[in-house]
Structure formats: C-alpha cells, structure tokens
Amino acid sequence: MQRQGIEIRSIFGRTPQLLVFFCITALICGLLVINYLSQRSLQQANIYRFQQNFQKSTASIAYFFSERENDITNLAISKPVTGFFSNRNLGMSMTYGLRSSLNSITQLFKHRTASARMGEEFIYSHLSLLDIDGKILSRWPIDETADCQKVPEAGGPLTVAVTSESFGCITFIAPVFLHDKLQGYIQGDVSFDTLTSYLLGDTPGLLFITIAGRLVFQSQPETTILPAALERLGRTDTVWPVELNRDDFVDPATATYAQKTAFTLFFSSLAKYKINLYLAEESSTISRRQFRLLFMAGLGVLSAAVLLGSGAILRANTRNVILETSLFEAGRREKAVAEKVEELELIIDGARLGTWNWDIVSGQVLFNERWMAMLGYDPGQLDTHVDTYTNLVHPDDLEAVRKNLRAHLKGETAVYSVEHRLRHKSGKWIWVLDAGKVLRRDQTGRPLRALGIQLNLTEQKEAQQFLGKAKEESDAIIRNFLDSLIVVDEDLTVSRVNQATCQLLGYSEEELLGQPVTMLFDDPVELVRGIFSFYAVPDSDPLAGRAVLRNVDLSYRSKDGGNLPMSFNISRLQDDAGKITGVVAGAKDISRLMAVLDKVAQQKNYIEKLFDVLPTGLLAIDSSMEIIKTNKAFSGIMQNWAKQFQVTESSLTGELLDKLKKALGETMEHDFALTHNGLTAYLQYNATPIQFPGDIERVVSLRDITDRRKAETARILLATVIEQFADAVIITGTDGVIRYVNPAAIRASGYSRRELLGQKTAILKSNQTDPTLFKELWQTITGGHVWFGRMKSKKKDDTPVEEDVTISPVRNEEGDITNYVAIKRDVTKIDLLQKQLLKAQKMETIGQLAAGIAHEINTPMQYVQNNVTFLGRVFEDISVLVRDYRQLLQTPGIKLSDEAVKHLAEIDLDFLMAEIPQSVFETHGGINRVVKIVAALKEFSHPGSQAKTLIDVNHTIENTITVSRNEWKYVAEVVTDFDPELPLVCCQPDQLSQALLNLIVNSGQAIAETGASVPDNPGRIGISTRHRGDFVEIRVSDSGGGIPEEIHNRIFDPFFTTKEVGKGTGQGLSIAHAAVVQKHGGSLDFISEPGKGTTFILRLPIKTIENNKGLV
C-alpha cells in the first residue's frame, strides 16, 4: 500500500511535469503539423518555380527559333542565293560563271555563321544550300562528306525538320523561290548541345525533347526513357508535373538513381514546331522529405528530447520562415523587375529611343526595331556585329565615339554618352544621342556586356542649325541694311541699331544702344513714344490691332543737332509665345528719295527717247494684248510691210497682235511670218514680262529678219548644193588646215570626215607631182588669184589619183583672205580613156592611109608585074636566039672579034642563061605576093559600109591572115582547116574582117606572152570553119597561157585590158564581140584552159541572098 501510495504520490507528484510534458508534446505536435503544412506549401511553391523557369526557358527557345526562322528566310531571299538560281536558270556552267555565284553564297554562309553566336559558340553547325532534290550545292563549314540532305516533300512555307538522331542537331529549312517556282532550299543546322547548353543550361534533371512525338534529344544519353512512358507523356496536355517512376526508364540498371527514386516531370510545348520538352527532376530535389523523418523522429524521441526536439523544430521553422520570406521576396523582386522592364519598354517606346545590347566579347550587338527603323532598315537587314555599327558612324565623329567609349569601357567615366552622326540607309546622315553603360564586367574588370540607348537628334540639330543660320542671317540683314534700321524694346529704349543709322546720326553703336528712342528724334517726345508703342493703344484707338505702321514721317536729330526728315515703317516684334517685345523700325531718307524721284523722272524721259531711237521695234502690251506704247522702229516695220502687202497699217498691226497672242502662249521668243499677195515678212519677237506702274505686262521687241531669213535660206541652199556636189570640195584656212570637206571629197579620198578635218592638205599630196607645181599654186592663191591645174594626189590607201583642181581664195568683208576653196575632179579614168581613144583614132587613120597607099602601090605594081612578065617571056625568046647564035659560032669559019670574045668571057653567058629565068621567076613570085598583100590590104581597109553582102568566109579569113601576118609570124604558125563546102554568109565584110583580125592578133599576143618564137619554139594559131546548121562556125584557137578565170566575165568589156598601159587599147575583143553579136546576131564565146590556150568560137547566121535582098 505504501508502495502504491508512493507510486500514486509519485504520479501525482509528477502531474505538473506531466502536464507540462503533455503541453509541450501537444505544442510539439502542433508545430509538427504546422511544419508539415509549411513543407507542403514550400514544395508546391518550388514546383511552381521550376515550372515557371522551365516555361521561361521554353519561351527563350521559341524566341531563338523565331530568330533562326528569320535568319534562314532572309538567306533564302538574299541576293546571292536568288542570283545563283537566276544565273543557273540561264544555263551557265560552273566552270564559266556559276561557280562565282555559288562562292558568293558560301561567303555569305561563312559570314552569317561567324556572326550568329551565342557567347563564344557558333549557333549554326552548318549552313547549306540544297537543290530541289536535296543535293548540297554549297555548305559552310565545308564538309566534303555530306552530299545530300532530306528535303521537304513539297515546298511551302518554312518548316522545321529534324535530321537523324546521329547528327544530334535540329534543322531549319526554308524553300528558295524564284518567280514563284521552287528552286532549292536553305538549311541551317543547330546542334542540340548548343541549344540546350545556352538556353537550358541552368536546368537540372533529365531533359527530353520530342518533335512530332519522336524523341530527338535527351540530356543524359545513358538514361533512355521507355517508349511507353514517352507515349504517356505525349498524351499529357498539362503543364503540371506528373509522376515518372524509375521503371519508366529502359535500363534501370544503368541509371544512377536509387531504386525508389521518384521523378517529377515538367512539360512544355512549342506547338508551332510540334516540339515538346520534358524535364524529369528527382522529386527529392524539389520537395525535401526531411519533414517526414522529423515527424517520425519527433514522435520517437518526443518525451526524451523535448527540448532538443523543440529546438530542432524552432530551428526548422526559422529556416522555413526565412526560405518562405526569401521566396516571397524573390517573387516580389521578379514582379518589380518585370514591372520595371515593362515600364522601361514603355519609356523607350514612348521616347522613340533606339536601344542596343552589346556582347562585348563576341562583338554582337542587338538593336531594337526602333533603332533599325531610325536608320531606315527593316529588322534583320543589318548585320549585328559591332563593326557594322562602326561603319555607319560618320568618319568625322568616329574618333570622338571611340574616345568616349574607350574611356567608359576602362571605367574612367560613369556612363558613355556622345552625340554623333550615323549613316541612314538612304545615305543621308542622322544625328543621335548615344548613351550607354557597361552592365557586366568579369573579375578583372574587363567589360562583358553593355546596354545603351540612342535618341534621334536630327530634327533638333537641323532646327538648331536653322536657328543659328537664321540668327546669323538676321544679324547680317540688320547690319548690312542700307537704310536706317533700329530695334526698340518695350521699354522704348534702343536695343539694336545698324551701321547706316550710326553713320546717319553720327553716333557710335555703343552710344545709341540702351538710350531712350526719343533721344534720336526732333519730334515731340510724346509723339515719338506713341508711335513706337503703337501696339499698346486701347482697343478703341484706330491703331489697335495693327502689326505695322507704314510711311510715318519723323525727323532724326543727328549728334551735331541736324534735322533729318525720314519716312518710317514700323513693325511690332513678338516672341514665340506671342508676347510683344518691341518694334523694328526701318527708315528712308526722304530728301534722298525726292532727289531719286527727280532722277527717275529724268531717266524716264531719257528711256522714252531711247525707246524711240532704238532700231528694234518695241511695243508694250497689257494683259489683254492691247498696245500701250510702240516706238518708231515698230511703226516703221509696220508701215513698210503694210505698203508692200498693200494693206492698211492698222489691219497689219491687228494681224500681228493675233499672231503674237498665239505665239506668246507657247514661248517668249520665236519667229513668225506674215504673208500677203505672195510676199512673206519674217519677224522675230522677244517678249519680256515686266512690272511697270500701269497695266503694262510685257514689252515685246520685234525685228524684221526677212533679209536675214532669205540670206539663211540661200546659205542653206548653197550648203546643200556643196554637200551634194559631185566634185570634191575642200575648204582650208590660210594655214592649209582642212576646215570643211563635202561628202564627195570623203568618197574620193577614202578618209573619214573626222580624219580629214584638222589635217593639212598635205595628207592628200602625192610625191608624183612636181614640187614646183605646188610652189606655183601657193604663189597664185596667196596672191589672191584662182589657180587651176591638174595634179596627182593620193587616197588613204595610197592609190594615186589624177585630179583637175581649182583653188580659189575666199576673202572676208575687209578683203583679207581667210580661206581657200578647192574643187577637185578625179580625171584618172578620163585621162586613160582619152589615151585609148587617141590610139584608136591613130589606128583608124593608119588604116585609112593604108587603103590609100595600097591603092597607090597597086597601080605601079600592075605595070611592074606586066613588065616582069614581059621580060620573062621575051627572055625565053632571047634564050632561043642566044642558043642559035652559039650554034652559029660553032660553025667553022665564023670567028668572033677579040673584043667580042673578051666580052663574052666577061659576061659568063652560061651563068646568065641559067640564072636570069630564075630571077625573073622569083621576081614575078615576089611581085605576085606584093600584089596579093596590097589587094588584101585594100580589100581589108576598104571603108566600111553598112550594107551586108554575101561573102566567102574562107577567103575573108585568108585575107585577114595575110594582113595580120606581121602580128604572129615571129611567134606562131597559122594552121587553117577550112570547110570547102562552106556556104556564103550574108554580112558586113569589114565588120567580120575586123572581128577576125582582132581575134588573130589577140591570139598572137597571147602566144607571145608565153615566150614562144619561130622557128625554135613556135606557137600555134588554128583557124577552122564549119557549117553548123543555120550557122557558120569559125574557131580561132591559140596555144597561149589561157585567160584567168577571175576575168572571164570582163574580157568583152570596153577598155578592159590586162596589158600594161600603152600596149593595148582594151577594145579588141569588145569590138569583135560587138561586130558579131550586135551587128550580125551571131555569138562569140570562148573556151580557155590556163596554161594550154584559148579557143574563140564565132558563130554567124547563114542568110540566103533571097532573104537579104533588101540588105545587099
């Protein structure tokens, strides 16, 4: 019992402690519950923060993607890319031209790759140009191994596609269109590593990225998520965390997580690109689980470690409170920052500020749209490297910009601020206030990033310049104002005064400034004050509301007391707010004005007199074309033509005014004509708008240019004649330099007009002309006389030309020689023709002489022939007699005297008896030959008759051969082959003989040119005749050198010859052709073989005597 009592006492004795214990326990339990709740709240807040951060990162990625979209799209429409496809569509090859276009693209890729950076790392792992089939045309960095890429199935808008996982990159691809036709693609590759390290680098846990439901990236490759889990994730449409167990991973054994590690999955989506991002974070990282352990521990040691537990609880609570407070504070700050950012953006936008954000390490500068617009560019049009910005700065401002910036970057100044100019896209310069500050430096103080704003000051600057200029101008105007000018402020003191006033009054500027304006005037003080404060009168005053007082007469009082009457114009002055600040008064010295008016009146009188004595017709007209005044010259013109036209002066003047009215509507200066009765007057007017008192609107000067027009017409006619003149006309100065050539001279010389003008006439001079001729020429023309003669000149190609030249001096009105005119005619051909004609005439004369000589020879030859015949015959008789005498001498008893024997021995009678018959025979033969030649010559050279007759062609040919023998006998033999049955031909014998002679002579000359000679190497002339149906054919062939083929079509041309000058007339074959073809209706052809000879074939029509009775 005692023991129980003790225990009861003990219990009761401990009751207060127990109560305290239970109270503490209850308190602890309460704290634990509070702790649990706060932990739970903290976990929720943590998850929310994670999710918010993840969303922000995703937003950064979305922005990053949109930037890449812009990049790729800009590249797809860039000039080098479209230019390449344009050039390729033209069919150009890589070797010739296209490669340079492609290289431009590669350079563009290189530049873009280098400029697109995040920190130190390039954004693009590759930029590529693909053709429509995905073949890589250009790629930077160059990658020889890659040759083809997958391309979208159809063009369409920009799409984002993903390469195979092995590449580990995300690909942006944009189509390239040209004239709405798909040409290829621009592809940009961005490594996932680049993407995640910069945009999701601070995000803990496992990151998964899927595109169109396909896993394309995970931050820890060894921890691959199960497809089933992925599919489950794919169905998730909430951003709220979902539980992901370790079993969701493919190979939990390789995972570094504990068996029961739970994950919280965060989800975010880029719907535009069908991209989902998943972040699996260990749940323990997000929500501390200690609270459960503390709860269990608290229960376990509740009674034993109350104080300890309480202390622990208190400490935990304290931390929680701090953490919660820090979370709240962080949230508040973020909100404040966001509000500030928004506020700042509004300020920037409202202030129309451009901003720049400079990554100093990479050199990249981000400009806002306002800045781009300020310089006239669209977003993305300018490269974002700082060098681009530097190039836009005005060269004169660049040093100041660099100096200020350098000082700020070194930390020498708190902010960077400078006003400078930038080049607008249009090329003009704009003024900006550029201010910025370094926001971040590394540990060594090196600047890393700077932000700044730019304010467009162009308008202010221009306004300042304008104001400054305006002030300068106003100062200059006041200073240089020729009349008196003073500025009086509202206190009626002089605030400005010009030099003219000082000089007029005899004061210096300093003496006048600040003095009461009344001091300057002789007029009553009140009057002066009233006038210079006219703007301040009551509304009832007539002057109320007026801005200017005009023609106010006041008198200056000069320093020396003199009185100077002046006329003032006074204007009130107002400031920008409209407040009246005083007046400005300009004054003129009236006395001078009066003097000037007198002078003007005199001048007017003088001008009116002058008006009348001017030789040019003048008329002043008003706006309705009514004549106000005319001068005498005008009346003279009208009277003269009215008389010639036989009309009245008033009607002619009316007609003139009508013409003028029409003409003045078009131009102020022109010519026009008046025509009456076949006569035309040409008049030239010049109208001058003028402002005179009265209604005079124009003064028109009128000149009669009829004579000048006629002279001009004559001059044009003369010039036209010279231009169209068939002979060359050359005009030189007195120095012999050519000033003018007409087209004929250009044609004749072979030079162009430009080549001739400015050259001396020596350019046409030939060395073949005797120098004394030129001496004589110059003496003649410099003496003022006309020279005429023939000289040899040369063309541009050195061809010699024979010309008849007339050179005449041209004198001016004073009689001085100013020019020479040469008229030249090319007589080269005429000269040649004259020579040939002369020869032909000579030959004709010789022919006629030959006929006469033949006749003269023929008569004596007849009796010579008869006598020789007689001598031959009688010698036969004498021979018989001599024989008889000799026989008689042999008769014995007959003895000759010694003298007779002696004579007989001397004469060698036997020899004579043998030779004399032979001599007579030969003489007879010779005479017969002479007679034959003379007969043939006579027959050949018989004066031609137009009558036709029947002739024996064979006989005619034989005659011709005989006559022409001398032309061929040294070089050729003539072989004839006549048709004995040849019919007679009706023709003109002399024409046929002439044709045959020409052909035979031509053959002989052709053979002679081959070097043939008789008897060693004789040529051959074959002449044959044949009867060919209705024609007789004569062939004349030679063994000459033949006729070159290039002249076949010219050999029958008159005067065409290949022989040197003087050896041939060039008419032989031409005459033969004319004789046969034109006179007889026959034909003359030839066959020629170079080196073998030529055969002329002459065909004459056979006409019976009956058919040609009338012709015979």
Binding site: L90, Y96, R99, Q107
Partner: protein, 293 residues
C-alpha cells in the same frame, strides 16, 4: 641576213622613249620629290573609283614601302599608256605604233592591266599579279546557250566562237577586250567597238546594244555579283591571261623596288588578304595562281 623587225622596233622604241620622256622618273627622282603617281582607270574592283580597290591599296602600300606619298591620277584606257610613256601610242596588231607626244602624268600603271604582246613592247611588266581570261557574255533574253565545258580550254574556246556566227560582238579598242586579239574578224561576226568604259560593257549588253560582249573574268565576277540573272556567261574566248603592274622601260630601279615589295606582301599574306577582300571568288577559279611558291 634576215632582220628581226620586232626587235628593231623594240630597240628604237626603247631608245626613243628613253630620250623623249623628260618628265619620266625612276625611283631616285620619285623619292626625291616624295610622291608616287599611280595611274589608274576605274575598273572592276581593281580601281573602284571611290578611293578603294585592290590595285589602289597595293600601290598605297608600295608608296609607304618606298617612303613617299601616294597620289592617284585618274586616266582612261585610251590614254593610260600615253600618260606613263609621254607618247601617244597604240596597238598595231602585236606591234606598237607611236603617233605623237603626250604629257607624262604618272609613274606606274596598276588597274588590272592585262599583259598583251603590244603592251610588252611599250612597257615593262611586273611579275603577274592577277589571273584573268576573256569570256563571252550576253543578256538574259538572248537565244544563245552557254557552252557545256569539255574540260579542255581550247575546245571550249572553239565552241564559244561558234556561237558568234552571225551575231554582233562588242569589244573595246586598245584593251584586252579588243576583238582583233582573238581573231574574231575571221568568223562571220559583226564587230563593234565600245566608246564607254570597260565597266559599262555589261550594262550595255543588258540594254541590248549588241548580241554579245567580251568581258574579262574580274569584271565578269563583279558584274555577276552586281546584276545576278541579268548577264549570261556563254564561254571562254581566250586562254588564261595575266595582269600585272606596268612600268616605263627606263625605270629599272622602281621595277626592282616593286618586285621586292610584291614578293614581300605575297610571303606575309597581306596580298592574299587584299585579293580576298576584293575578289573572294577568284580563288575558286584560279586556285594555283595565288599559292606562294
């Protein structure tokens, strides 16, 4: 004895020019007067006309190298050689003809001048500084189709010349684009000579002033970049040619100084950098030319 006409012409020309150029200067006089006069014609990217250009920058560096001021003297293709020599000279086939006197206006020619036989008789050239070739160009609307490269330049030239039958071609006298240099008179082609500058040939062909025109590669590259889709390269008219800096024959010291300088900027890569700046595409066409040996 057979006389070498070209040699005689060259001998007399050299002597004649040496005696006649009173204002001609060699390195010593240039350094004494302190200024190098660079004769240039705005052409392609050699002399851009706005103060820049490959040859302008090279000459500026050269002037700095020899310690004198640089002065640009603008001239024309028709007078550039005259301005250097002090004589009015022109091409006469592959020979050079002298027609009169002219003032000496410069010390050196550097504006993408092609080495041609007649020019070699009038001038001394430096080591080749730039490769080139003459291409046949037409407008986009032309019915002429570019040749398909055969891999052999001679065959490509023949194929290109065939395109010219019955067509007109625009060239420029006294330049590497003179049609007579490529015997275009021998084929049935209407030749017309352009009065404007070389850089205006491509616009002229775009305006349809002739069926075709000749352009050298540097100018063609510039035109292709400037007017994509507006000109069409049909094929080559010449084999590869070379451009160089032109000097008077009586300025050996200046030539030697430039030779040393040119070698130096080749070796240190600065010439390569300048070419890259003005003709980035040229390395694809002539990869071997710019390799420093």
């Amino acid at each position: 004895m057979k006389i070498n006409t070209a040699g005689v012409v060259l001998f007399f020309l050299t002597g004649f020019l040496a005696l006649s150029c009173a204002e001609a200067r060699d390195l010593g006089e240039i350094q004494k007067e302190g200024v190098l006069r660079h004769l240039g014609v705005p052409y392609a990217n050699f002399v851009t006309g706005d103060g820049g250009g490959l040859d302008v920058e090279v000459m500026q560096l050269f002037a700095r190298e020899i310690g004198v001021e640089y002065r640009y003297v603008e001239t024309s293709w028709a007078t550039v050689v005259n301005d250097l020599l002090g004589k009015q000279v022109g091409a006469d086939g592959n020979n050079v003809k002298i027609t009169g006197d002219a003032p000496v206006r410069g010390d050196v020619i550097a504006n993408g001048m092609t080495i041609l036989p007649w020019r070699q008789k009038a001038l001394d050239f430096s080591a080749p500084t730039f490769p080139t070739q003459v291409w046949l160009i037409t407008g986009p609307a032309s019915s002429l189709t570019p040749i398909v490269p055969s891999g052999f330049i001679e065959d490509d030239i023949v194929a290109t010349k065939k395109l010219l039958t019955g067509k007109s071609v625009l060239g420029k006298n006294n330049t590497c684009l003179d049609p007579s240099l490529y015997f275009l008179e021998d084929i049935n082609t209407a030749i017309s000579l352009f009065e404007g500058g070389l850089s205006e040939l491509a616009p002229a062909i775009m305006q349809g002033k002739a069926d075709t025109t000749l352009l050298d590669v540097p100018d063609a590259l510039v035109a292709l970049a400037r007017w994509p889709g507006q000109i069409k390269v049909l094929g080559p008219i010449s084999v590869e040619q070379q451009m160089a800096v032109g000097f008077r024959k009586d300025s050996p010291a200046l030539q030697e100084a430039f030779a040393v300088f040119y070698r130096k900027i080749q070796m240190d890569g600065s010439y390569h950098a300048l070419v890259s700046k003005y003709y980035p595409e040229v390395f694809d066409y002539y990869p071997d030319f710019f390799t420093v040996k």
